[in-house]
């Protein structure tokens, strides 16, 4: 079993971490890069596969050399066996299409061809959700998106997954696909470990990986466009059909609102509140 997880570094949008200039533009230099939060779901799905079915987990990303730490973070989380970074200047400023081309080529170059590739559900910066499916299109594999849970039958060479239909929690279907297969894990994905042996394996892997993550560069392979035999005209900015013409900042909601404080046991003051609310209770 060989499993690959695709991941991306994104600005840390959490309060206190992210920094904007006066015009509301992201200050990239002042904002730390972290692993795309949604990728954690892909990592969990891949790790569940490793615990239950064993095998080898690789983590792959395309980006600047600074993404190495993102891969290290991923290694700690998913207890990955090895890391791949596709990185050089020619790949810079790529849109989702050029990224998909590059990553798909990276996947094809792996000596041990993957049985499953996992991607997270859209990135926190672009929010397109295109890169995973486009990469899969390049590979010409089956894809299962919005995956909630999955079981693998290695003997039959199939994967069976529960997925949200149209991303809607009220409708869940079970689908089966032959491997190799591309999986997009939904944020609702929940790994389950109902067997003690799985939890013990989980614990072993966690301990074993913490040491490996310290020395992560020993498990890291960096490939540039020449290693991948890619024509610079088809990757990076030159290979990107998408043009971002401009960015409009979303105006901030007014932060000051009128408020009247009423003590909870002040029944007289609560009267008008009740009057206001009554029509809603009546369904008007």
């Amino acid at each position: 079993m060989h499993t690959v997880v695709m991941t991306k570094g994104v600005p840390d949008f959490r309060e206190g971490q992210v920094s904007f200039d006066e015009e509301g533009h992201l200050e990239r230099g002042k904002t730390p890069t972290v692993m795309n939060p949604n990728d954690k779901h892909a990592l969990r799905a891949a790790f569940q596969t490793k615990v239950r079915n064993g095998g080898h987990v690789s983590l792959m990303s395309m980006g600047p050399p600074g993404y190495k730490e993102v891969l290290q973070e991923g290694m700690r989380d998913v207890y990955a066996d090895d890391l791949y970074l596709l990185s050089d200047r020619e790949m810079g400023a790529a849109d989702t299409w050029a990224t998909a081309m590059t990553v798909a080529t990276g996947l094809q170059k792996l000596a041990d061809q993957p049985d499953l590739v996992f991607a997270g559900f859209k990135t926190a910066d672009g929010e397109t959700g295109h890169t995973g499916p486009q990469t899969c299109w390049c590979l010409d594999w089956p894809i299962i998106t919005h995956v909630l849970s999955l079981d693998i039958d290695e003997d039959a060479g199939t994967v069976r997954a529960k997925r949200l239909v149209d991303g809607d929690i009220s409708e869940i279907e079970t689908v089966e696909a032959p491997m190799p297969c591309f999986i997009v894990a939904d944020p609702e994905f929940e790994p389950t470990y109902r067997r003690a042996s799985h939890r013990l394996k989980h614990k072993d892997l966690r301990e074993e990986t913490q040491e490996r993550a310290e020395e992560y560069e020993e498990s890291l392979t960096v490939w540039d466009h020449e290693d991948l035999n890619l024509d610079p005209d088809y990757i990076g900015l030159d290979g990107s059909p998408t043009i971002v013409s401009g960015v409009d900042p979303i105006p901030k909601a007014p932060s000051e609102r009128e408020a009247t404080m009423i003590e909870a046991d002040d029944s007289e003051a609560l009267e008008p509140v009740l009057d206001e609310l009554t029509p809603y209770a009546a369904g008007d």
């Binding site: 239950r52 079981d151 470990y193 109902r194 067997r195 003690a196 042996s197 939890r199 013990l200 614990k203 072993d204």
Partner: protein, 553 residues
């Protein structure tokens, strides 16, 4: 993925000292052993007063099983043991070093979070080598049966697990022991309840105030009239950089007197005698509580059924040797003996004999006689018969008794230090309240130090214990005050006229009549089990990793 049963040779439930001893001994015998611990970390679900003994006569000791134990997991060796008899401000202290040192290889103070999590690490490494290992945050809910026979365990988090032996080391409120019908929560007379405060203190200050070397410590015990006549006493042990101060009372006495355990603890903390040790700054790190089985009455004489064996608190193996309570050492011995019994039975080709063999070993190794001493059966029980008890109290308190106390001061000190004498002590007011009070009145000197300690109130104490309890784990079956009202006072995190605890009493108007009811909110529950005995409840533990999490223990 199938949800079919997993199988291990042995499943040990709980990784306190009993479970750790069992698991380590099983692993040493090459047994594939799975250890399931409910807490986020071993030691997060239970507390002890804090002294662990290693007895010379015991076949197994904790440092024998885990050689670095004292270095890595304990606080201070305790070489001094004093009991203080108190009447008002009068105090008469006896050195009970002889009792403390009798049959004692060593005795160390411990804090359970540190101790048990160290043990758990050792246990995981050893059991992993034989194909098992330790998992935390797994709540074992009951026994797995096939055709009526116990064959394994059920859990909240995992699919059922089969085993050739199940070691229930799941503590005083063992759900396995109750599922098997071996233990119950019926009689308050069979239990003590302890509450404890861990008080922060710099090591140098401890050395100074207790006049001990940096690698030495002291134990102080307290009895007399400072606990409003509730039968029990107090203790103080020195840790490395804190003190464990607590009180332990007979649960039936707490229930009868409608006593508030946290107030009894405060009576000790604020007594003038404590001023010399507590000084002006009082910083309470943790408030905790626990139910303590009285082995004289509760230790199961035959703690096994089918493939299930009970060890430690789960089997009621907690010895009150007069004022000294020994539990962890017996749990260690019992755990190791249970494991040894399984290894022997397996070697003979009949693992199902493990339970019988375990019982035999408990008797042959003298454990059972320590837990249920013959002397108590003959004399102690006699002293608990009503008229005898009344008469003894009257004599002790009479002019004759007081003369005797004055005349026999040295004899008394020796009596307190005699393991044989204290094993016969009846569970009455005489030894806990009347005699210490008379001793202090007749022989004591007044202590006039000013105690400025003001302990935190219950709301603050509970505030430090906030955690995610998950779904309510206790159901109040009978809400009437008659059936369950005792819980309002006896529960260590509830109190009369206090709205922030687990149990509250309330007057409810219904159709013109007024009902006195009890309501329950399990949020602040410390899982001590008191209400399972004194109230009408359906009691179970919260899910793995949920509920109380002690940092000191």
């Amino acid at each position: 993925m199938t949800d079919s049963y997993e199988e291990y040779e042995a499943v040990v439930v709980g990784c306190g000292p009993g479970g750790a001893a069992a698991a380590a001994t099983l692993a040493r015998n090459g047994v594939e052993t799975l250890v399931l611990e409910r807490g986020v970390d071993a030691g997060s679900k239970n507390v002890s007063g804090g002294l662990i003994y290693a007895e010379e006569s015991a076949p197994y000791t904790i440092d024998g099983l885990f050689p670095d134990f004292r270095e890595e997991a304990t606080e201070r060796p305790v070489s001094e043991n004093i009991i203080h008899n108190i009447a008002g401000e009068n105090v008469k202290s006896f050195d009970i070093g002889d009792l403390h040192h009798h049959d004692t290889a060593w005795a160390d103070s411990v804090l359970r979070r540190k101790m048990d999590s160290w043990l758990a690490q050792q246990v995981h490494e050893r059991t992993r080598e034989t194909g098992g290992g330790l998992l935390t945050e797994v709540h074992v809910t009951g026994l797995l049966r096939e055709r009526g026979e116990i064959v394994g365990v059920t859990t909240e988090e995992l699919a059922p697990i089969k085993a050739d032996i199940v070691v229930a080391a799941d503590g005083v409120n063992s759900e396995l022991a109750r599922d098997a019908g071996l233990m119950d929560w019926e009689e308050p007379e069979e239990w003590f309840q302890g509450v404890k405060a861990v008080v922060d203190m710099e090591p140098e200050i401890i050395n100074d105030r207790f006049d001990v070397a940096p690698d030495d410590g002291a134990a102080h015990l307290f009895s007399g009239d400072l606990f409003d006549g509730v039968r029990g006493g107090g203790f103080l042990y020195t840790n490395e950089s804190s003190l464990s101060i607590g009180t332990v009372f007979h649960l039936d006495s707490i229930a009868e007197e409608r006593a508030e355990p946290h107030e009894l603890l405060d009576s000790l903390l604020t007594h003038p005698l404590m001023a010399q040790w507590l000084g002006d700054e009082y910083d309470e790190r943790e408030y905790s509580a626990k139910l303590v089985p009285d082995s004289k009455k509760a230790a199961h004489p035959s703690p096994h059924k089918d493939r299930l064996v009970l060890v430690g608190d789960a089997a009621g193996q907690m010895q009150a040797q007069g004022p000294i309570i020994k539990g962890m050492n017996h749990a260690v011995t019992a755990g190791a003996l249970a494991a040894e019994a399984f290894a022997d039975a397996r070697a003979r080709g009949d693992p199902s004999q493990a339970g019988e063999l375990y019982e035999k070993k408990l008797h042959d190794e003298g454990v059972m006689d320590k837990l249920r001493p013959t002397g108590y059966k003959v004399f102690g029980r006699l002293g608990e018969v009503g008229p005898v008890d009344d008469l003894s109290n009257a004599i002790a308190d009479s002019a004759v008794g007081r003369f005797g106390v004055r005349a026999a001061s040295e004899l008394l000190e020796r009596a307190y230090s005699s393991p044989r004498m204290v094993s016969m002590i009846p569970d009455t007011k005489l030894p806990y309240v009347t005699l210490p009070t008379v001793i202090a009145e007749e022989l004591g000197e007044p202590v006039t130090d000013e105690n400025t300690v003001s302990p935190p109130d219950l709301a603050d104490r509970i505030g430090d214990l906030t955690y995610d309890v998950g779904d309510p784990h206790i159901e109040l079956l009978d809400k009437s005050f008659e059936a369950s009202g005792t819980a309002v006072t006896a529960c260590p995190v509830s109190a009369k006229d206090f709205g922030g605890g687990c149990y509250r009493d309330e007057m409810v108007q219904t159709n013109g009549s007024q009902e006195h009811l009890v309501s329950l909110d399990t949020q602040p529950c410390v899982e001590c089990g008191t209400c399972a005995i004194v109230a009408d409840t359906e009691w179970e533990h919260p899910a793995g990793g949920k509920g109380v999490e002690f940092n000191e223990g």
